[in-house]
Symmetry: C2
Subunit: 331 residues, 2 copies
């Protein structure tokens, strides 16, 4: 049997975030649905960038953020995603490797640019994402490293990948390789609108291949078209392990017939919610890969999410293992 070299390998969009501040009126004027991710084409992207205020660039990408969080807890994490041979590609590659995540995908020259997301943060700390999927959309089955997936205890898949057929095929292939190798498959639903676009396929995938499901309230209610409690009951029936995040209300873990409520970790000031779900997943997955009790895994998710919403950007600014030790959750 293949030796396990990674706790988790993720497949996702390789994105650099362009983060700026705006008011609610700006979002309305530009048709950006508050709190959601929308895909923008090159023209809309250029027009929005011209209109938005000064920004900072920080590496992002939902599953990539989760892998950086895992590495910060001390796990062995790897990431598969496509970057172009441009400045944004170099930024993405540098930051994820410098964070201790294994990233072997080679930059691709002469095609689309590296993907970027214009993230507009309103005064309440809520983020609204406008993603220009450049070369990420070209992620195809050739990029999915069968060896890496077979060597990982868990393969973590980003729902956003469903937005392009090639990436979706790569996604399904990865799940299939993992299953054959006896590994676990984790999925994050990514965004309520994304779930809307692919509801039936997500449900099929969850019932057939997914061992660990991550979703927020918006996503899980969108998936089942039911109020939260009913959607949670359906989730428990469809999956063996799920973590449903509910912003300030904490998270609900559904594990082998049990329901566990996990409180949030207190935050002095919500600066930017970008990455809150990604980092919750990092803490939870760390707990799962280390065989910790579900309550502890959930608490690790809460402290990672709290760290990330206290500052701009979706990559942790301090070591998460240190934070977890200070809270008495890790030795």
């Amino acid at each position: 049997m293949t030796e396990i070299r990674y706790d988790v390998v993720a497949i996702g969009n390789a994105i650099v975030d362009i983060i700026g501040r705006c008011d609610d009126a700006f979002l309305e004027r530009h048709g950006a649905p508050k709190g959601h991710m929308r895909l923008v084409d090159a023209d809309t992207s250029a027009a929005l960038y011209a209109a938005m205020g000064p920004a900072v660039e920080i590496s992002g990408g939902s599953a990539a953020n989760t892998m950086v969080g895992l590495a910060s807890f001390g796990a062995r994490a790897a990431f598969i995603g496509r970057i172009a041979s441009d400045d944004f590609g170099r930024i993405f590659r540098h930051d994820i490797k410098a964070a201790g995540v294994v990233f072997d995908s080679e930059p691709v020259a002469g095609r689309a640019p590296t993907s970027r997301s214009m993230i507009l943060v309103t005064p309440d700390g809520e983020r609204t994402m406008n993603t220009f999927l450049g070369i990420s959309t070209e992620l195809d089955q050739g990029e999915v490293r069968a060896d890496m997936i077979a060597q990982s205890a868990i393969v973590y898949l980003e729902g956003y990948l469903f937005d392009r057929p090639e990436a979706k095929a790569a996604f399904r292939q990865a799940a299939s390789i993992a299953k054959k190798a006896g590994r676990r498959v984790a999925l994050t639903l990514s965004d309520g609108f994304c779930v809307d676009r692919h509801r039936d396929e997500f449900l099929d995938l969850i019932r057939s291949d997914v061992d660990i499901l991550f979703a927020n309230e918006d996503e899980i209610t969108s998936l089942y078209q039911l109020p939260f409690d009913e959607a949670a009951a359906r989730t428990a029936a469809d999956t063996s392990l799920a973590a449903l995040t509910r912003s300030a209300k904490g998270s609900l873990i559904l594990a082998d017939g049990k329901s566990i409520n996990v409180p949030v970790d207190p935050v002095a000031k919500v600066v930017d919610t970008t990455g809150a779900g990604d980092l919750y997943a990092a803490g939870f997955l760390y707990g799962v890969t280390q065989g910790m009790p579900m309550e502890v895994a959930g608490r690790l998710g809460s402290i990672a999410a709290a760290e990330i919403i206290g500052h701009i950007g979706a990559r942790p600014e301090v070591r998460l293992d240190k934070l977890a030790r200070e809270k008495g959750l890790m030795k």
Copy 2:
């Protein structure tokens, strides 16, 4: 006579900062002189980037930061600097324009990349800069817009430009155009090592063309090779107006034979000193262009510097005119 359209036009390096954290040992290992700016070639730049931790990208450039600060006070500011047609060039262009600074320089394709500086911030908040001067060094006399300079009450020149002959020529040309148009010339010495490299030429320029001089303690003592008090006396003899910044000791304004000590503005925590001098210059120049008393101009410099060292990056995160009004320095 040409109408004045801008309070200040600056000529400087158009740089995107790549800001990361490190400890003092990292600086020593990589031969980076703490608290200074050093120029690095492409190979050193690549090696340092590979070694440094995760970073954020924020538009920078000394004189560019000063112009953004001026615009944030409500002044009419313009910037001249050369960018390439790449992601970093687009970032620089977007951010400076979004901040309200007039920037008409067109991106140049197919030559060197846009300039970048790897800024390493140590736990004490001190920044150490490693600048790869890409296309900035190609700034030449063709880029110096005579019309723009003649339309500006003050032309502000960045000492760093002296590090390349073409830029130095452009620099001298700008000073000459300004003088002929009856405008004032301001100069910042930029860095103690930079002064070391060009001491005699700086002295010549200051005595012949400079009306307003900015320097920190390190730079002014390097210029005159004298202790601070004696260097300040020489500065007073050589210039009609100078502002000498002394970190926590505040600043000393030398104006027509008078010496004025200006206190610093209190800062809760020094996070990153990048841009402290640039923003001091912004506040001081704003006061000068509005005909305020020198004490007030100095205080505006202090509050702008305090704002910038409280967070990562050298561009203000709040409106400086609002801050100045809260402090009762502006109406």
